[in-house]
Amino acid sequence: MKKLIFAAMMLLFASSAMAQIPSVKVENGKGKVVNTSSLVDGKTPMIISFWAVTCKPCIQELDAINEVLPDWLDVADFRVVAVSTDDSRFTAQARALAEGHGWGDFTLLYDKNGDFKRAMNVQYTPQVYVVDKNGKIVYSHTGYTQGGENELFKVIKGLK
């Protein structure tokens, strides 16, 4: 039985297209429920970063991106989406942290029930994706080492 199911999944894998942004419900910065598929606007690519208040490298990475964002935006047009994977108890703390870290230029989303995280198969944070204007995932990376943010910019620049 298990083997059969596994075989079926492998069959699907073989016939699959490139992964894209799933359609699940999350909260936005104002506490309103929005669908993740609405992130795709057909015009600009985006960096999607999954973070949590207890994940130090996540915060370092988003701070690093925030630091260089004005310079990057001079070169390419794109958006940064920071998805807090904190559950409902830490959402308020996550909001406070995002404000106190000056992440006002990011699109802030709160994935309280972990639906977005599970649909994207995020196991470890930080997990960061570069998604093209049509919602196709073109790059992703797990973990953060200082300076790693430059890779993201390289991919964004290549998406002309």
């Binding site: 699959s16 894209q20 506490g31 909001r95 406070a96 404000e99």
Partner: protein, 538 residues
């Protein structure tokens, strides 16, 4: 039930696959694999635990398939055997989770395993946390319905997972609804919603428990209010968790084997964010709020709700020696009906160019939290101090290449969890220094000191990390208890990342203590050994 679901799943997945090959619209597949193994070594200094075979490994394979409105997925887990300190009900290999779901913008149906929660999870939450060995996914069915932004409804039924499979005798049914008054009345820039949940939990109980007033079927409910305007948010929740069955420690005195208690909780959360300032104030009271998947198990993953510690979350080892463990009510050892307390969290960003911000800005944060047990059952009056924490942190780029973070923390911890009044008071300082030599080469150093007159007295800790972005990171650290035991808890290792694959190796000595994730902690025995972690997603 499970066999039927598996067959159904297989049939639908195969159909979907054929459809995908013939159709213009192609489905897509995502998956992940994680393996965490430890080779245990002998260590008489720390009394390190060493399992038979000196080896433990936890493995997870997850795969999901999406096609239009359909999705299907599965998860396999293998514990060969489980790592030391994990719940003992995790053993062997099994297809643990599988589901099939359909959803358009408004309707959604899930059959198989799923995760869900009502409100903040005080009444009901099923979730996965691999750090804790927690996976309480429901096996059953769920239906959701959204009407515009105004109404959200959810109905679910199933058996929550305990260990490797669904609990055989527990059934959970739930209803959850949310009405957005702001959307209904077309209020712009404001959120206002009322929410409510009902939860029925069924598990057969013995005639003796029934005689004492316990029941196989219990009802719980939760009522909630969410309001927001401008940068302000307010959340309030009241929970009546229904009747709970606890073992009676005084059985020899009053002859009753069990105590029947009514669970209830109150939660208020207020936050403000704007102009670089983020403030969050939380107050919470819990009474008899422990909720179990099954009465028969005392494992940590036997949990049907979510009671995290609501206090500062630290990422430095020395500040996590004695983390706060919430007291939702217990009768084991002593009778304590619950806790009351709260926290204040402040984050502020001094902008670039401001007097304190300087050229590169400065971030500060502050947390105060305190918790007490209840004076008596039903009371809102605090009695014995369980926990108090004050911390201040500063983060600043001193030059373009040099970033400094400083943290001061004071923690007062009641080591008997309220049985006695005795507390351990400790003061901690941490300096976290990052230097970027080139855009891809950097080093980071952590220096920490803890001072206290109690328990094992003073500790010191240091860490040195060398990073070659984006792939390599190498570290060595030591935490030394020079106040009492003179034991060095050393660790060293490296990690390598290539795209979505990460491999890490470390070797060292780990102290017995709490391993926490998301405010929930599990007790970890001391161990020494080599740890290999591999994770990838595709």
């Amino acid at each position: 039930m499970k066999r039927t679901l598996s067959t159904l799943l297989l049939a639908l997945v195969s159909t979907a696959s054929l459809w995908a090959q013939g159709d213009q619209e192609k489905g897509y597949f995502v998956g992940s694999f994680e393996s965490n193994s430890i080779i245990y070594a002998e260590d008489n200094v720390t009394n390190a635990q060493k399992p038979e075979g000196n080896f433990g490994t936890n493995n997870y394979l997850k795969a999901d398939y999406y096609l239009g409105n359909f999705s299907a997925g599965l998860q396999m887990e293998a514990y060969q055997p489980a790592l030391v300190g994990y719940p003992t009900n995790l053993a062997g290999a099994r297809l643990t989770n599988y589901y099939l779901a359909w959803s358009d913008g408004n309707f959604g149906v899930t059959a198989g395993t799923y995760y869900d929660q009502f409100g903040s999870g005080l009444l009901f939450r099923t979730y996965e946390d691999r750090t804790l060995g927690m996976n309480t996914a429901m096996l059953g069915a769920r239906v959701t319905y959204h009407y515009k932004d105004i109404v959200a409804l959810k109905a679910l039924w199933g058996a929550p997972r305990l260990g490797m499979e669904a609990a055989p005798e527990t059934q959970v049914r739930g209803l959850d609804g949310s009405l957005s008054l702001a959307s209904l009345l077309g209020m712009e820039g404001t959120t206002l919603s009322v929410e409510g949940s009902l939860l029925n939990r069924f598990e057969p109980v013995s005639p003796i428990v029934e005689e004492l007033g316990g029941s196989a079927s219990t009802m719980g409910y939760s009522a909630r209010l969410n309001a927001g305007h401008g940068g302000f948010l307010l959340k309030a929740e009241y929970v009546d968790a229904g009747s709970k069955i606890y073992s009676n420690p005084n059985i020899l005195i009053d002859g009753k084997s069990n105590l029947i208690k009514n669970g209830n909780a109150q939660l208020v959360e207020m936050s403000y964010s704007g102009g670089g300032l983020g403030v969050n104030v939380t107050a919470r009271r819990l009474e008899w709020m422990d909720s179990k998947v099954s009465y028969g198990s005392s494992e940590l993953n036997n949990s049907l709700n979510y009671i995290p510690a609501m206090c500062a979350q630290y990422s430095y080892a020395i500040t996590n020696l004695n983390p706060y463990i919430p007291q939702p009510g217990t009768t084991s050892g002593h009778i304590n009906s619950g806790e009351i307390g709260g926290q204040v969290d402040v984050y502020y960003n001094f902008r670039r160019g401001s007097a304190l911000g300087g050229k590169r800005g400065m971030k500060v944060n502050f947390n105060f939290s305190t918790y007490y047990n209840l004076k008596e059952e039903g009371s809102f009056v605090p009695k014995t101090l369980l926990w108090r924490n004050v911390n201040v942190g500063v983060e600043k780029f001193l030059t373009r290449k040099f970033k400094m973070q400083l943290l001061y923390s004071m923690q007062e911890y009641n080591h008997s969890h309220g049985v006695g009044k005795g507390t351990w008071l400790s003061n901690m300082v941490v300096a976290d220094l990052l230097y970027k030599y080139t855009p891809t080469f950097s080093t980071r150093m952590e220096l920490a000191y803890l001072t206290t007159f109690e328990d094992q007295k003073d500790w010191m800790a240091g860490l040195f990390e060398v990073n070659f972005a984006p792939s390599w990171s190498i570290f060595a650290s030591d935490m030394f208890n020079h106040g009492d035991t003179k034991i060095h808890y050393y660790n060293f290792g490296f990690s390598y990342t290539a795209g979505r694959t990460r491999a890490a190796f470390s070797y060292g000595r780990n102290r017995a203590g709490m391993v926490c994730s998301g405010g929930v902690c599990r007790l970890m025995p001391a161990y020494t050994g080599g740890n290999i972690t591999i994770s990838t997603s595709f």
